[in-house]
């Protein structure tokens, strides 16, 4: 134990008061702790409009995977704020060239790669073993690169030129649906967020994501990765909190244009989403499927959250 090759977890354990005094004394005798400064644990906050606020409600909750840590417990007002931020983010994100959006998502993959250690620790805080955390991170990076390369192909793949009768030029182009709410799965806590959000971003949407309730750490840390990846403020907004409290509020929010929910179809959510004809989809996968990267990258996940616009113009001299 004294020669623990990953002392960070030990430091966090110390910080959370989960190390027995006997173990601490043993460390002291080895000289590993005395050389370390007092640890600086992180406050887990929301990511809204490119900033990291606490919940306006002042509430926090203790995730089941790690009850020693306080995490901001998002409220209905936090959701509203996030939607306002996402509406502003949408204009910037959807107004950017698809090539630029691809580059920014690729940058996101670069940042995930360069922050491997930190992200892996977040996943471990959420209860994963080191090898599983590493595997999830591999999937996350692979997925991000796939969607980065998709951004500037969506138009050609889903749009069309149409052979209509008469002297008309007619073509159909795709545009983002708008601001889409995402209820990420409880697990996997990082890949779950990315697998549902990246197809939306590739289509030009902005997103408000509710991360895993039991293991929100990696999902919230994704906000930090975004903040250092040229992702425009508001394009991705990350909330943490209780799913049972927030999911119905996502469904009934009138300025969300779509809703993508991890889990089995839920009649109550769709019923309240119908108030403004939201595009609603559910992503119901087994744990095995969630771990297969090829199962998570699909143009069919982009399709439900883009709108097709068809233009007509006469052809004349």
């Amino acid at each position: 134990m004294a020669k623990d090759p990953a002392p960070i977890s030990f430091i966090q354990d110390v910080a959370r008061g989960r190390v027995s005094s006997a173990r601490l004394r043993r460390r002291h005798r080895c000289g590993t702790v005395s050389a370390m400064p007092v640890p600086v644990p992180k406050t887990y906050k929301l990511f809204v409009g490119g900033k990291f606020p606490r919940s306006e409600s002042g509430r926090s909750f203790q995730p089941t995977s790690n009850p020693a840590i306080n995490v901001a417990r998002g409220s209905r007002k936090d959701l509203r704020d996030a939607v306002v931020a996402a509406r502003a983010g949408l204009a910037v994100w959807s107004g950017s060239a698809a090539y630029l959006r691809g580059q920014i998502l690729y940058r996101l993959a670069e940042m995930l790669e360069s922050r491997r250690d930190a992200m892996q620790r977040e996943l471990q805080l959420g209860g994963l073993s080191a090898p599983l955390a590493k595997r999830e991170l591999d999937t996350a990076i692979s997925l991000t690169i796939w969607y980065a390369g998709l951004c500037d192909k969506v138009q050609s793949l889903l749009g069309s030129q149409n052979a209509v009768q008469g002297p008309f030029f007619n073509f159909s182009m795709v545009e983002p649906t708008g601001v889409v709410g995402v209820i990420a799965p409880d697990s996997p806590s990082l890949v779950g967020v990315l697998a549902l959000t990246l197809p939306l971003l590739a289509g030009g949407n902005s997103a408000v994501v509710l991360v895993s309730e039991s293991a929100p750490f990696a999902g919230l840390a994704l906000g930090e990765v975004c903040a250092s990846s040229d992702v425009p403020a508001g394009a991705i907004n990350v909330l943490s909190g209780l799913r049972s409290e927030l999911a119905p509020q996502f469904a009934s929010h009138r300025d969300l244009d779509g809703l993508l929910v991890a889990g089995a179809p839920d009649a109550a959510l769709t019923q309240s989403a119908a108030d403004n004809c939201k595009r609603v989809r559910f992503c119901y996968l087994s744990a095995a499927d969630w771990s297969k990267v090829e199962r998570l990258r699909s143009l069919t996940w982009v399709e439900p959250f883009v709108e097709l616009k068809t233009l007509w113009h006469p052809v004349a001299q």
Binding site: F168, P265, F282, E307
Partner: protein
């Protein structure tokens, strides 16, 4: 000053007045080439079946209020029988080769054109729309939809390369009264091409052409149960969309009912496409070809008596040409011939129903009460039947009901804008997003505007054009999913690994 100058110029143009001098001779289309049965049953499992409710209701000619026929009122048991018939037909139909499915659809398209005149006349009688439109738009387009989708039936592998598109199963389809035959074709053709079976409910007030389409299916030898058509009222439609045997619901109609259907199918994991209402903005810039724009605006709002979900019901004119444009529009409106829909010269026929006429009157009254300025062309309206003259409101505010609610009638609300930004802002200031129109001579501006319109169809320097190859459908509360084109067909197939519907 400039504004006054233009006004003077506009009013100074000499006007030729023919209206009172020469009358058009009547040119009615004859109806001797077909008959309407006194009563129609339900088309279930390839046969005509009496409804288990034992009830029938009349369908009338809205131009004369005379009953044309009576049709069966399908109840829950009839809906159930129709879905079961479709389920029974599904295994064989979905396993049939794409080429053979296509051949049936090609035959349907051909027979529909062979019987084009009969369908056009019947549609006009049952709906009230002018024969000119049913003859030149509704029937040819309906046939095109069958022909277009026939060609897709054996090419689904080209449409979704590397994937295996599967049919969904039994599709429940509910259609409105404004384009009865065309909507039936829009719904049935892609469903069948992809290997699905169908239960379709036509609108209560316009069931006759969909029922006659069943004769075409029989003539084409379409296997029994592949298409089932059940007539009835709103309750029949509600029973259909709630039936547990459906794999998808496709609905065209009002936004209000569309939302109810979204709630009704919630949690069942079945697909849904909604083509709902609209309140389209029709933008006219000062540099537009004004006379052509006037024609386009007339086509946009008075086509099919304005009973069009994508009608250009909000005219946004650049302020500098407002007076001139409105004057030209009023002059053009005076020449719209309103009257007997069966007359080949008629431009605008009858309002479809007493209920719709009441709705139009209510909204027009609200416009007048709100302080908007009503102009109606002084046409003579027939004594019997449901009629409403071409109408135009000026001095309209964005908050007026006539500028926000779907009138679904020949009523145009005129507003103004100064800059392209303001035009975009006003155009998108609605919960609807079905269509938009843009008139300007500047190409770059058209694309700039079209990109910003939150609408599924944008007509530029034209309006109300339709084609089977051109996807149609809305943004926002105008619904989701497309009809027509390859994207329309997408809504009728299942691809492995997709997200689940709500």
């Amino acid at each position: 000053m400039a504004k006054n100058g233009e006004k003077q110029q506009a009013t100074g143009t000499p006007e030729l007045v023919f209206g009172g001098v020469w009358k058009y001779d009547p040119a009615p289309e004859s109806t001797e080439h077909f008959t309407i049965a006194p009563r129609y049953e339900l088309f279930v499992g390839g046969e005509w079946k009496a409804p288990k409710t034992g009830k029938y209701f009349a369908t009338i000619d809205p131009a004369t209020e005379k009953p044309l026929s009576e049709v069966a009122l399908a109840g829950d048991k009839d809906v159930d029988a129709a879905v079961k018939a479709a389920q029974k037909a599904f295994p064989a139909w979905s396993k049939l080769s794409g080429e053979d499915r296509g051949r049936y659809l090609f035959r349907i398209a051909r027979i529909l054109l062979e019987r084009a005149r009969e369908f056009a006349c019947l549609e006009t009688l049952d709906n009230g729309k002018p024969i000119k439109e049913t003859r030149d738009v509704d029937v040819p387009l309906a046939a095109q939809h069958f022909f277009y989708h026939a060609g897709w039936a054996d090419k689904l592998d080209l449409l979704f390369p590397g994937q295996t598109p599967e049919p969904l199963g039994v599709i429940g389809q509910v259609i409105p009264w404004n384009f009865p035959l065309l909507m039936a074709a829009w719904k049935i053709a892609p469903a069948l091409a992809a290997g699905n079976c169908v239960v379709l409910k036509p609108a209560e007030t316009s069931p006759l052409t969909a029922l006659r389409l069943c004769e075409v299916f029989q003539q084409a030898g379409l296997p029994a149960g592949v298409v089932n058509i059940i007539t009835g009222d709103g309750k029949t439609g509600a029973a259909l969309v709630r039936h547990p045997g459906l794999a998808k619901v496709a609905f065209t109609g009002s936004t209000e009912v569309g939302k109810e259907i979204q709630r009704a199918v919630a949690g069942r994991g079945i697909e849904l496409t909604l083509e709902l209402g609209g309140k389209a903005a029709h933008l006219v810039f000062e540099d537009a070809a004004i006379d052509q724009a006037v024609e386009g605006v007339v086509r946009g709002i008075f086509f099919n008596q304005g009973h069009v979900c994508c009608a250009g019901s909000r005219l946004l004119v650049q302020e500098s040409v407002h007076d001139l444009f409105v004057q030209k529009l009023q002059r053009r409106m005076a020449r719209i011939r309103v009257g007997n829909p069966m007359d080949k010269n008629t431009d605008m026929g009858a309002i479809h129903s007493a209920a719709q006429l009441a709705r139009i009157r209510e909204l027009v009254a609200a416009g007048v009460e709100g302080g908007a300025n009503l102009h109606q062309s002084a046409c003579e309206l027939p004594k019997k039947g449901f009629w409403f003259p071409p109408s135009l409101f000026t001095e309209v505010a964005m908050s007026h009901r006539i500028a926000r609610e779907e009138v679904f009638g020949p009523v145009l609300a005129v507003l103004t804008f100064r800059t392209p930004e303001e035009a975009v802002e006003k155009a998108n200031n609605t919960s609807y997003g079905l269509s938009a129109g843009i008139w300007t001579d500047k190409g770059a501006r058209i694309l700039w505007l079209a990109e910003r319109m939150k609408a599924g169809v944008v007509w530029n320097n034209t309006y109300n054009r339709f084609d089977a190859a051109s996807p149609f459908g809305g943004y926002k509360e105008s619904g989701f999913g497309r009809e027509g084109g390859r994207q329309g067909l997408r809504a009728y197939v299942r691809l492995a690994g997709g997200l689940l519907p709500g």
